[in-house]
């Protein structure tokens, strides 16, 4: 197995007695860029959390070859974060250096410089001294990407990273994801926008009826598979631009 591969072998998750998905087999190779798609409730975020080891498997295995916890960077859904908490933009982005500082260590000058650079990279350097509740949704998502930049992770996992963002913000953040991909990092992202998946993500895992269809995006996202996954008419998806 290649170093850095994440492999699922007949994996399944059951929650509250109900199977979320079962018999999922496939692998995320190092440097791959994969979208996870599926209808609401299909278990997309659960799949991310299972890969992170947060959700116990009911069957099968997930192996993370040569990867440690510190190699993973995770961007949760924005709604999970308490944006009303009185914490500054700088303190929030410094959290990305947690693996260096630990829970009790101080951020030295080098780490602070990296934080400043990360904020500059996402065009948020002017907001460094503000509190997070003063940021717009787009600015907040830029902040979360800056924190990911700080973590310097080998595997970057994004849970609905572009939801409710305006087009320029989404474009900027997509460019950043592309940059991570070119650097050889593994990208796994839960996405809803089928057009975006087709244009930007070479691989996809489509969760449908408790199963996962895994492979190249162009081969997997057909009108038929999408209809089954989303239980809607093929026309909704078949006419989308390639």
């Amino acid at each position: 197995m290649t170093d850095g591969t994440i492999r699922l072998d007949d994996a399944g998750v059951v929650m509250n007695g109900t199977p979320v998905w079962q018999h999922v087999t496939g692998c995320f190779t190092p440097g791959s860029m994969t979208a996870i798609a599926g209808a609401n409730g299909a278990g997309k975020s659960t799949l991310l959390r299972a890969i992170l080891g947060e959700v116990p498997l009911s069957c099968g295995t997930i192996t993370r070859d040569g990867l440690h916890q510190r190699d993973f960077g995770y961007l949760p859904q924005a709604r999970i974060i308490d944006r009303g908490f009185p914490i500054s933009v700088t303190d929030m982005v410094l959290g990305g250096a947690w693996h260096q500082t630990g829970a009790f260590g101080a951020a030295d000058r080098q780490i602070r410089q990296r934080a400043a650079n990360a904020l500059r990279r996402v065009n948020l350097d002017q907001q460094a001294g503000r509190m997070i509740d003063a940021l717009s949704a787009g600015q907040f998502q830029r902040l979360m990407f800056a924190r990911l930049l700080m973590s310097d992770a080998r595997v970057i996992m994004l849970d609905e990273p572009f939801t409710a963002l305006d087009a320029p913000t989404m474009q900027d953040l997509l460019e950043l994801v592309g940059e991570w991909h070119r650097q050889g990092r593994t990208i796994i992202a839960v996405l809803h926008d089928i057009h975006q998946i087709r244009t930007c993500f070479p691989h996809v895992v489509l969760l449908s009826s408790g199963q996962a269809i895994w492979g190249e995006t162009a081969r997997i996202l057909t009108p038929g598979t999408l209809q089954r996954a989303y239980d809607s008419t093929p026309g909704d998806w078949g006419n989308a631009p390639p």
């Binding site: 992170l52 995770y74 308490d82 009185p86 829970a103």
Partner: protein, 290 residues
């Protein structure tokens, strides 16, 4: 009587007033910052529940010591408070009940049990003391205990500051980093319990949470930064302690409720005067139509 003598004489003349002042300042200093964090973690009602949860432990301490002993009742309160916190946490993890629902069930049970124990073996006066406190009867050992709890509380809070803050903002991130968010949560609940125990001799189990929550809510109206918020919360608690004792002395009112009501007055004034209070909502909005 001059203003200066009105402010100075009660404390210069009476030792019990000096001890009450030191007690209320100590309580404000420890409980204020804890209260801010409790509110930011959206656990205000859990703080209230915890204040009731310590009652059966305090009652058992009362029985074992054969009277009002802060050490015995305090230790009993800590054990009972932490026991309820652990049980409520366990129930919320093992069932679909949320943590506040578990707390509500356990604290009502604890309150009933505590009142039953004290009333079965003590007098009504004892029960009143346990429920509403006796800040004017604070003695030296009780002051030492309060000082120790406040010192421990501020030290522990500063040690677990970063993980506690990050666990509040983004618990998923804490899990990702492999940090034990649950441990910091329990340490924080421990801080809540010991501060309530520190307060219950002075203000009783029913009102000790007031010194924690009302100053915190007041401070949140004036600043959006965490450290100044905690400092202001402590300051409001201490100022309310001083003012409440003076009001109680000069108008012959009960001291504990006077302190908490002073906190409440400061809160109402802040609601009216602070930039993020009621004034903030007064925008110019109107419907235009025919």
């Amino acid at each position: 009587m001059s203003l200066l003598s009105a402010l100075w004489d009660p404390f210069a003349s009476f030792g019990f007033m000096r001890r009450a002042l030191v007690a209320s300042i100590t309580l404000g200093m420890g409980a204020g910052p804890v209260g801010v964090m409790l509110q930011l973690r959206r656990m205000s009602l859990i703080g209230d529940a915890m204040s009731h949860a310590i009652l059966p432990g305090a009652a058992v301490g009362f029985l074992l010591a054969g009277g009002l002993s802060l050490t015995a009742m305090g230790l009993g309160g800590i054990v009972a408070g932490l026991g309820v916190a652990l049980l409520a946490g366990l129930v919320s993890r093992r069932t679909h009940l949320a943590e506040d629902a578990s707390f509500a069930s356990f604290y009502l049970t604890s309150l009933a049990l505590g009142v039953l124990i004290v009333s079965a073996r003590g007098s009504n006066i004892d029960l009143l003391h346990v429920l509403f406190g006796t800040i004017l009867a604070i003695d030296g050992p009780a002051l030492y205990l309060m000082g120790g709890i406040t010192t421990l509380s501020l030290c522990l809070l500063s040690i677990i500051w970063r993980p506690l803050v990050m666990e509040c903002v983004d618990p998923g991130f804490m899990r990702m980093t492999g940090s034990r968010g649950g441990v910091y949560h329990m340490v924080f609940l421990f801080l809540v319990v010991i501060n309530l125990v520190a307060g219950f001799e002075a203000l009783g189990t029913l009102m000790s949470v007031g010194m924690m929550m009302v100053p915190a809510a007041t401070a949140r109206l004036w600043t959006r930064r965490l450290l100044p918020m905690m400092a202001l919360s402590a300051g409001v608690g201490m100022a309310a302690g001083l003012t409440g004792l003076l009001v109680s002395y000069h108008f012959s009112l009960a001291a504990g409720p006077s302190i908490i009501l002073t906190c409440s007055i400061l809160y109402v004034v802040s609601l009216l005067a602070s930039p993020t209070g009621l004034r903030a909502g007064r925008g110019a909005s109107s419907w235009q139509g025919s």
